[in-house]
Symmetry: C2
Subunit: 244 residues, 2 copies
């Protein structure tokens, strides 16, 4: 109730009215405090100095939103995959909340249209991470405006479930093998994947794959198919050899 | 209500009764689901395989607790320091939730006594990160057992406010200058801190300090005292030169 009253006391500009409508469209609920969202859409390139040496931009909200998003996605994956270990959960989470995914997400939900930054009028080809940063700042604003439970519902129902195909995110492990191969070609190393062990019955076979670089085994992977075992080995090699 | 009923259906062992008491002492509230806390105290070295290839240890809870703790500390600092930028907030948060601080915290609140790990009976000199990991897992358990708001209150009132002197945490920036000096000695570089500018009136002086390595300025710091400006420059140099 107090928060609804609060809304009456904020004077809306034409731009705020537009923002209010956009936020309502995105979150499904009218904002209580439009100023939070206004701030979330303000990139540091257009921020004015308020206190001496302190620029009021969306960077603080981004810090908050990043943490809140991380916790909510962590819990979501924790509950969705009760038999997966923390390495898997950490990996999938980082794929969901990385800069690139968040940039795309910001474009999909239309947030990219709302961000203010220098040069917007001049060109559309701006630093793309601006959108991902604004996405996090927006989540920070929703959190401060509406609280934890609303934010959790918003993130799970309106973002994760509508805009992510998590099974597809998981399947994209295919990258690791090609990452290792590309890396080796660049640096003139020889990479080999060899099956070192096959276990189990016909319908429940398990494979063990050794990944060697220049003849030396650097990682070993396991999986219920040859492909999965290779991916597992490649993922471990990427970690061990610091392949980006 | 449902959760209280849930409690009746869990059969308590002698050890569980002890754990229940300890958890009540730490959080101030009796656990609903003691199994969560039991799991949180189980290091992977003593975990049994439940499902094929899946060990049930506190590692998943640690992943969850880490994320929840990060978000709650982020919000706490965000609200406590409305005029500090996200670089400051990120830095202070990482000092509060780093492995070392969490290890100490686990010992302070008595959690270290409850953790099960291999070799506990043989010696007290175990891998110390076990306690910090258990601290995070414990927070994960509290979160699943009692929800977000209880966990937030628990973290802020029982952990942050009772066991951290945040102002002191902030003051420990003193490390940066010595970090730079140590680094330079190790690699045989010459480091100098020079005041390049003094501004402001007598009671409101501001200093600008240049930090040079082998005669080349690598960072510039500002501050309301010479010491603070030096620290600021040293912090920036650590970032720029990747000094750990």
């Amino acid at each position: 109730m107090l928060k609804i009253i609060q809304r009456w006391f904020i004077r809306y500009s034409e731009q705020d009215r537009k923002l209010d409508k956009a936020v309502t469209g995105i979150t499904g609920r009218r904002p209580y405090n439009i100023r939070l969202y206004r701030l979330a859409m303000k990139h540091s390139s257009v921020a004015a100095e308020t206190v001496k040496g302190f620029k009021e931009s969306n960077e603080r909200l981004e810090y908050l939103g990043d943490a809140v998003l991380g916790a909510i996605v962590a819990e979501y994956l924790f509950k969705r995959y009760p038999f997966k270990d923390e390495g898997f959960l950490t990996e999938i989470r980082s794929r969901i909340v990385n800069r690139e995914s968040l940039n795309k997400l910001a474009v999909k939900i239309g947030l990219s249209q709302l961000v203010e930054f220098e040069g917007r009028k001049r060109s559309n080809l701006s630093h793309k991470s601006i959108y991902g940063d604004a996405m996090e700042a927006f989540i920070g604003a929703v959190y401060l405006d509406k609280g934890f439970h609303f934010t959790r519902r918003f993130i799970i129902r309106k973002l994760l479930m509508q805009h992510y195909d998590i099974e597809a995110v998981i399947e994209t492990t295919t990258n690791f093998k090609s990452l290792v191969i590309e890396w080796a070609q660049k640096l003139n190393h020889k990479v080999e994947f060899n099956i070192s062990e096959t276990r189990g019955s016909k319908h429940n076979k398990q494979f063990k794959v050794d990944l060697s670089v220049d003849g030396e085994v650097v990682a070993t992977g396991n999986g219920f198919s040859k492909k999965k075992a290779e991916q597992d080995a490649a993922r471990k090699a990427c970690e061990a050899l610091d392949i980006p």
